[in-house]
């Protein structure tokens, strides 16, 4: 697995620098054959997927040693990694669909791996199986429509034939593909499988799914929309941008109020893919409006954010796996106090959380800064729609960034700092060296992307520029300089400045503290007895203000039960508080849909009465009907 990941990463890096290669194996599969064609865009996704696979593979070695993996997982994991690397390398529609389906099936096997332990796994597996296959059908339909005028299914032919596609057919192909790929990327409202399946899978599988697999949804949108169909009208991309913005805000909002660590990370994936889709949508919109330089900048931001997200999401999910292994719990309200018992995991999660919260020394800051630059510089663009959508996009990104900070402060502060809130958390022990090595590798990647994004940025800008036929939008070796619009940022300087700033503040406070005489005394506890873990902030209480503010969107269900003493109703015996946060999109959209499907199925059951003659008759009548149709329509 590690070797395969390494191979993929190296192949991707090689391809990113411009060395395209292709392989055709026509006889390997019936009907379509296999055709691989790696260009720079594929290279980005190959490199990211390969790198995630290396870290997750090393982690998996440790997980296997601890007996966390079953033979089924060990068999399916390499196949999953292989398909993950083959999807972006596919050079024809048939190959892409084969690899996509292989990826869906192997990941499904991995998601349901622990179905004996928890009943929720089976339900998550069902959601994932249905949604991924409906998505597959959508992609297949969309790609077949797109390939209508092409001579064969290879991407070269489809690209050449796209000019003959009628605008209506092209729009249909794009929208159906967007639905299919978007559901893989966790785009609202096609996201409900993601916060179910990602938490229920074993943690290294969660990392692979959340950091590498969802990227391929974005890959599909870029490949089909920008590359194969050659851009298209502005409203396609406005749709992508709006859906991306909604996903980003909705995802991070759910993450901010959730208290299940892995579910929180899953919703955060929806958020980050939403941001990437905002960038992709902005790129398409600018390209359709003729502003190639800004289009290149937006796409560069999208690719960089994909990379960054892959790095920090790998760290976060693998650390969550390490915590889960040590404490047996994903519930933030039962964790805490892990800093002294699991120092390496805590440090790695801290790095990941910092990267994820889009604050200056973190890795995501650079990509979000690039995205904001693209959107802000696009504001003078002509037309009513951009004038409305772009400011809203900027606002959505700002809101997302703020909520992300709150989310990850909660995840890190409640989950790792403070006092342990349960016996399991108090007895936690650090994970083994292999697991820590996997986490550490990914954390190193986070730090590297935060300090030196300029190492990869010019290459990404080259690739993005090549796709939208523009000059690279970003240059610079130490400082990032935007081309075409004004904007300079030096990540290295920023990291150094914030490091110096933090060090001076901490040092200053220490210095001041040392000057005064310190007196050791018991912390004042209002006279209510010794402080205990029950008095700490929990994830639920931390998120309560946010939940109050956004209650109109979240529609939480709370229940406060106060029971009184028998002697006096002025004396409270116990207070119980229950809160449920149902996914509102799911409840409003999917519950009626599922209900309708069930009814339809029950009605359909009436067709099968058991009579052999009736079954024969169905076939006979259908045949006669078809023949009659043939006669009439000929």
């Amino acid at each position: 697995m590690v070797a395969a990941g390494l191979l993929g990463a190296v192949a991707g890096v090689v391809a990113m620098t411009g060395t395209a290669w292709s392989v055709a194996l026509p006889g390997l599969l019936p009907l379509t054959g296999l055709e691989f064609d790696v260009d720079p865009l594929s290279g980005v996704f190959l490199a990211v997927g390969g790198a995630v696979a290396v870290a997750a593979g090393i982690f998996a070695v440790g997980a296997t040693r601890h007996g966390l993996d079953r033979p089924g997982v060990q068999a399916a994991l390499p196949a999953f990694i292989g398909s993950l690397l083959l999807v972006p390398a596919a050079g024809s529609i048939g190959t892409l669909l084969w690899c996509w389906e292989l990826m869906a099936l192997t990941s499904l096997v991995l998601v349901v791996a622990e179905h004996r332990e928890r009943p929720a796994v089976a339900s998550a597996g069902l959601w994932y199986a249905v949604m991924t296959h409906v998505g597959f059908v959508a992609i297949m339909v969309g790609m077949l429509v797109a390939a209508g005028p092409a001579e064969d299914g290879s991407f070269v032919a489809v690209r050449a034939g796209a000019a003959d596609l009628s605008p209506a057919a092209a729009s249909l192909a794009f929208l159906v593909c967007l639905a299919g790929f978007g559901s893989k990327a966790g785009m609202v409202p096609l996201h409900p499988w993601l916060p179910r399946a990602h938490p229920e899978a074993p943690s290294h599988v969660s990392a692979l799914m959340s950091a590498a697999m969802v990227n391929l949804g974005v890959y599909g949108v870029v490949r089909v929309g920008i590359d194969l169909l050659g851009g298209g009208p502005s409203w396609w991309w406005v749709t992508v941008l709006v859906l991306g913005a909604v996903s980003a805000v909705y995802g991070i909002l759910q993450a901010a109020v959730g208290s299940d660590l892995k579910r929180l990370l899953g919703y955060s994936t929806t958020e980050n893919m939403g941001l990437v889709l905002v960038a992709v949508g902005a790129c398409g919109m600018f390209a359709a409006g003729g502003d190639r330089a800004l289009a290149g900048l937006a796409l560069t931001a999208a690719l960089l954010h994909l990379m960054t997200h892959a790095a920090f999401k790998t760290v976060l999910f693998l650390s969550a796996g390490s915590v889960l292994h040590a404490t047996g719990s994903r519930d933030l309200d039962a964790l805490g106090g892990l800093r002294s018992r699991m120092p390496v995991t805590t440090a790695a999660f801290g790095v990941g959380a910092l990267s994820a919260s889009a604050l200056p020394p973190g890795a995501a800051f650079v990509s979000e800064w690039l995205l904001l630059q693209a959107l802000i510089h696009g504001l003078p663009a002509p037309g009513v729609v951009p004038a409305v959508v772009l400011p809203l996009g900027v606002a959505a990104i700002a809101l997302t960034a703020g909520l992300a900070v709150a989310t990850f402060v909660k995840a890190f502060g409640i989950g790792f700092l403070g006092r342990p809130r349960s016996g399991a958390a108090a007895a936690a022990t650090e994970s083994g060296p292999a697991m820590l090595a996997g986490i550490g590798l990914a954390a190193l990647a986070c730090v590297a992307l935060a300090v030196g994004p300029t190492v990869v940025l010019p290459t990404l800008a080259d690739i993005a520029g090549g796709l939208v036929h523009a000059a690279p939008a970003v240059t610079g070796t130490v400082a990032i300089e935007l081309v075409g619009v004004t904007g300079v940022l030096s990540p290295l300087l920023l990291v150094a400045a914030s490091a110096v700033g933090t060090a001076s503040v901490v040092g200053g406070v220490r210095l001041l503290a040392r000057r005064r005489d310190r007196r050791r005394a018991r912390l004042w506890d209002c006279g209510a007895g010794p402080l205990s873990a029950r008095m700490e902030y929990t994830a639920t209480s931390f998120a309560e203000p946010l939940q109050r503010v956004f209650d109109g969107v979240l529609a939480s269900e709370q229940d406060v039960d106060v029971s009184h003493h028998r002697e006096s109703r002025y004396l409270v015996a116990a207070v119980s508080y229950r809160r449920a946060l149902p996914d509102r999109v799911e409840r409003r959209l999917y519950t009626p849909l599922l209900h309708a499907m069930t009814t339809w199925g029950r009605v359909g059951r009436g067709l099968a009465t058991g009579s052999v003659h009736r079954y024969l008759g169905y076939g006979f009548v259908t045949l006669c009907g078809l023949l009659a149709l043939l006669v009439v329509t000929r």
Binding site: A608, G610, V612, H613, Y615, L616, L627, V631
Partner: protein
Amino acid sequence: MDPAAMSPPAVALLDVAAGALLLTAVLVVWRRDLPTILRIFTAHGIALGALVGVLAWAQRSVELGLVAVGVLAVRGGLLPWLLRRALARVGPARREPRPVVGVAASLLAVAALVMLAFAVAVPVVELGGSAATRAVPVAVAVVLIGLLVLVTRRHTISQLVGFLLVDNGITAAGFLTTAGIGLVVEVGVALDVLLVVLVLQVLAGRIRDTFGEVDLGELRELRDR
């Protein structure tokens, strides 16, 4: 040789054989007592053999002549004999128990099916223009009538007859559209059909042992609960 260049007497004979094929198929739908149905079915097999024989004579093909003899032996001799044995074994019920669709309605349906077959086969007829291709609609009609028998009859022997009608129709269509399918293929198909009939014969015996009668309507287990 060119099949379009068929001599007038051969064309007349071909038309007679095709007509007999269709007529016997319609008669199967009309009658309800099983021994008569089997006699009509024998005539149907002979008509099919004759059809192939006429084609062999028109094309002066010895191989096709051999195939015609084989078809005659299997479809006009062996299969009806097997069916008669099966009928003797399944018991005294010699009449089709009330069909799913009444005889009059069935005959009307047959008329509609024949028209449908002729309408569907128009492109094929336009393609060739020879006497053999002009007879293709008859073969299609026989297939459809066989399916109708399968759908509307309850007795297992009637079901077998319906299945064999479908197969005879397919065979006829094969011979009429191509200039002979080839001995090996035809022998293979004949063996397959023979096997199917033997299996179904056993199945009919088992149905009778289990339910005491041979009505397919008794098989109602195959459904959602």
